[in-house]
């Protein structure tokens, strides 16, 4: 017998009633008594709406009710895996929908049709750690970059910085759009991967902001955008396969950008450029780490994927064979940026630095390919086939 005292259903009395009903099986009965003024109206109506048969009696000023528990909606409900990463299942069904991992899901839900619903394809055991790291490493573009630091370099070097920033913005826009497209297909069961990709998108949004702001520090005009550069990025946007897109974008493209951002950090003519290259490089390193981690896991379970990845690099190389690769404008801008001025000795130094950058990029690509299990020979061939546009 539960005593509601003066508590009415219009004041929350359904809570103790539901609690008592939950303690008996379907078909079991509970006894309730109470003295709220409208209980005799509200209790039968509430029971009717919830499918619990009820009989009422009065005893003095008190209403007494026997409520029989009716059928509920939780018969056939199932657990959507476990909340911890070790509760991730291999193939979460689409009917789990948007439910939190570890929630109890009512049976009969619609299949929300997430195309990326295979742990083998999307998961990395490092994802929870990388997400935590990413969340902790977010920086504020307004305060993290010394925007007011003095700039003493000549106008042509500034123009070179503007050209490099223009090129970076275009590339980071592609790096923002690619994960967005897969985010919409990813089963939310893979929570940490979803979160990590979301932060990756936010990282790129921030990079686009700081590159734009840096380009406009000394003037309003941005630099040049070439058809070849855009053609190279367009092949990334068009790639429908998560593993291949991740391989091309994160491992090869963003991997190559790690070298480029380190180059900018080391040769920047001003503090703002140096700092934004450093911070963006940190973020990109996480993107590369996730790409490597989930692809390594995927390859461990499906070694044949290696052949598909190699074929994708060759296909992209052929698709881009007619394009100019890295534009002359970007190449020259990098030389001038590293030179810092027009003296022949400075130009020689800048040129040598860009040649060294290309070597560094190639070495980095080969090293990452070997980490994914490609042989030295395969790594060398594939690294050489990677787009000359860097991303």
């Amino acid at each position: 017998m539960i005593d509601l005292e003066e508590l009415g259903l219009d004041e929350g009395a359904h809570l103790p009633i539901k609690r008592a009903l939950a303690a008996v099986p379907v078909g079991g009965a509970i006894e309730v008594r109470g003295r709220a003024p409208t209980l005799a109206i509200d209790l039968p109506a509430w029971c009717r709406a919830h499918g619990h048969p009820v009989t009422l009696s009065r005893s003095g000023g008190e209403l007494r009710a026997v409520i029989t528990r009716g059928p509920g909606r939780w018969g056939g409900a199932e657990a959507a895996g476990g909340a911890d990463p070790d509760g991730v299942v291999e193939r979460p069904p689409g009917r789990w929908g948007l439910a939190a991992r570890g929630a109890t899901v009512e049976a009969g839900g619609a299949d929300l049709g997430f195309a990326l619903a295979d742990k083998r394809v999307v998961w990395a055991d490092e994802a929870p750690r990388l997400y935590a790291q990413a969340a902790a490493a977010q920086w504020d573009p307004a305060t993290a970059i010394p925007w007011a630091a003095p700039r003493a370099h000549p106008p042509e070097v500034e123009a070179a910085v503007v050209q490099v920033m223009t090129y970076l913005i275009e590339n980071e826009t592609a790096a923002l759009i690619v994960p967005v497209r897969f985010l919409g297909q990813l089963h939310p069961h893979f929570r940490e991967v979803m979160q990590l990709l979301a932060v990756q998108v936010a990282d790129e949004a921030r990079h686009i902001e700081v590159f734009t702001r840096r380009a406009r520090l000394a003037g309003d005009r941005l630099g040049l955008s070439t058809t070849g550069g855009q053609a190279s990025l367009a092949t990334l946007l068009a790639e429908p396969d998560f593993a291949i897109a991740s391989f091309l974008l994160s491992v090869l493209g963003e991997g190559t950008f790690l070298s480029l951002l380190a180059f900018l950090r080391d040769h920047a003519p001003d503090d703002a450029t140096r700092e934004l290259a450093r911070l963006a490089g940190q973020d990109e390193a996480r993107h590369v780490a996730f790409g490597l981690a989930h692809l390594a896991r995927h390859l461990g379970e499906e070694p044949a994927l290696r052949g598909r990845l190699a074929a994708a690099v060759e296909r992209r190389h052929q698709a881009l064979a007619h394009t100019a690769g890295l534009s002359e404008e970007v190449f020259d801008a990098l030389v001038l940026l590293a030179a810092g001025g027009w003296a022949p000795a400075a130009i020689r130094r800048g040129h040598a630095a860009v040649i060294e950058l290309a070597r560094d990029m190639d070495a980095g690509r080969r090293q990452r390919l070997r980490r994914l299990g490609f042989s030295e020979g395969e790594a060398e061939t594939l690294a050489a086939l990677h787009t000359r546009n860097f991303m």
Binding site: L9, D10, P37, I41, A45, R48, G51, P71, G75, G108
Partner: protein, 286 residues
Amino acid sequence: MREHILVLGAVAYDAKVVPIWEGFQRHFADHGLGFDYVLYSNYERQVEAHLAGAIDVAWNSPLAWIETVRSAGRCGRRAEAVAMRDTDRDLTSVVLVRADGPVRSVADLRGRRIAVGASDSPQATLIPLLTVAEAGLEPGRDVEVLHHEVAVGKHGDHVGGERDAVRALLAGRADAACLIDGNHLAFVREGTLPQGFAGVLVQTEPYDHCNFTVLDDHDPAAPRAMIDRFRELLLAMSYDDPAVRPLLDLEGLKAWLPGRTDRYGQLERAVDRFGTIAAWLDRVRP
């Protein structure tokens, strides 16, 4: 084509009526019963269509049930209620007054004003006014009636009339307001009615609400076997079955029950007393 299809009529009192009957159509098709539906904007049109043989089964309000029984009866035809919702059994209506006001009994309403829903609403108008009348106060003569004519023809299926009646009580435009029992709680929860503002002056006797109505000489194109199958499939729907649960939730029930017709007496008396359907009955020629 009709020979394989059972056609149901329903009144479109809300946009959700379409997904409801689309869902039932799929469910019946999955179980081998050809089924289609026709929507009407008001119950009178639906009853007339039923009498004319345009539909085999009518999803009727209690007032439409009485309209069908009486108009069919005039030419020797008989109506039958084949099934109903569990949530349509043993409803009551209440007359609310201000908890701290002067009205303590039905007799105190004399010379005052009572707010009701649409004039064709069994739950928000006809049955509670009958209760007041049978307690000795004739509506319109001893107590002024403030109607809220929301969606007339839909027999009070639209909740707006009841909500307006409660608002009239809150605003002091009326001394009492009539509504179905479950809406007392609903109006408190949605914030229309402050908790503790209203007290129950009187509660009606229990009555039943909607049913699926068929006529005994229904169109022979839909044989009795189809109606029996329709009823059998309804009664077999289980709330434990996740495939049908969303449909039951949408239609607001836990189980379909056999139709019963012994709890429409109050409404019969109200219709007789107030002459609610007299003009319509005179106009209908089955």
